[in-house]
């Protein structure tokens, strides 16, 4: 019995050690750079379009917590080679009310931007 328990605990520990698979390239998760834990925050669909030559993005963000949540975010704009094409944006503060869903809209600063990353930080 004791041996079985040890085996179960060892398996659980091993499972805990395995790192989750990296997000699929091009998926919404692959566009998010979280600098720290983002518990209770669900990142939903992302809309990307080109309007009058500029890349526009909107990301759905939901607070699953029953308390208000403050977070900081900014978009990084990338060129075709995956490198930044503009100076980093300023960080912005956002308050999400309990169980609220909101959208983070953004417009690229230069027409050369073809891709983006969303950097999120929770205090």
């Amino acid at each position: 019995m004791g041996l079985k328990c040890i085996a179960v605990v060892a398996l659980a520990l091993l499972a805990g050690c395995t790192t989750p698979p990296p997000p699929e390239p091009g998926s919404a998760a692959s566009k998010v750079l979280a600098t720290g834990p983002i518990e209770d925050l669900a990142i939903g669909p992302m809309r990307m379009a080109r309007e009058n030559g500029f890349l526009t993005v909107s990301t759905q963000l939901s607070n699953a917590d029953t308390r208000n949540k403050t977070l900081y975010y900014r978009y990084l704009w990338l060129g075709p080679e995956g490198f930044p094409v503009a100076e980093a944006e300023s960080w912005k503060s956002l308050t999400l009310y309990a169980e609220q869903t909101s959208f983070l809209p953004a417009i690229a600063p230069v027409p050369q931007a073809v891709d983006f990353r969303l950097e999120i930080n929770t205090p």
């Binding site: 309007e51 500029f54 300023s90 960080w91 912005k92 503060s93 690229a108 600063p109 230069v110």
Partner: protein, 196 residues
């Protein structure tokens, strides 16, 4: 005597050797460089984050609106400060101009502060007789602005025993000089609350 001097020289060398500074920093103390893009929450007066957010928001909205087709010439007017605070609104317009220039969507005519320097330089080149004729900038060739950009910033401040709430509203509009029509307009609202 020789042994004593040698040991003194050796210890001086060793101490000197140990004191080599491998860090490209001079001085110490409580000074450090920070992230200029960080969210600044030192006080709830108008700050760097407000300036950056306003400039970013206005520039991108204007550039993406499609009004600025063919890189038109724009003249920037001062933003009227209708708040009770001292705000250098020229910093806001300079940031907007810089970011629009970087986006490649507009060109800017000399504004009211640059105009005197521009006129002085033209006069100097044409009237002083100091310059070679072929290199002198001719008068009457300055490009007139098609649009003018002007705006205002206002605030509502409320205080109670527990809270201080400041609400800023920044408005900017692009006006066609010939027709007088506002071709684009946007605003940015910011709320900052301090709990005492």
């Amino acid at each position: 005597m020789f042994v004593r001097l040698s040991s003194l020289a050796l210890s001086a060398l060793l101490i000197g050797g140990c004191a080599v500074n491998h860090s490209p920093v001079l001085g110490s103390g409580n000074i450090s460089y920070g992230d200029p893009k960080a969210v600044e929450l030192v006080t709830n007066e108008f700050g760097s984050t407000d300036l950056q957010m306003i400039a970013e928001s206005m520039t991108r909205s204007l550039a993406q609106s499609g009004v600025l087709k063919g890189r038109p010439v724009v003249q920037v007017y001062d933003v009227r400060n209708k708040t009770s605070e001292y705000i250098d609104t020229r910093d806001i317009t300079t940031s907007i101009k810089t970011q629009l220039m970087r986006s490649g969507t507009a060109r800017f005519a000399s504004d009211n502060t640059d105009m005197q320097s521009q006129v002085d330089q033209l006069k100097l080149q044409n009237q002083s007789g100091l310059y070679k004729k072929s290199t002198v900038a001719k008068t009457g060739n300055m490009i007139a602005a098609r649009y003018r950009l002007e705006g205002s910033i206002s605030s509502i401040v409320k205080r109670s025993n527990d809270y201080k709430d400041v609400f800023y509203k920044f408005s900017l509009q692009l006006i066609d000089v010939e027709s007088g029509l506002a071709e684009w307009m946007d605003e940015k609202e910011i709320r900052k609350t301090t709990e005492r």
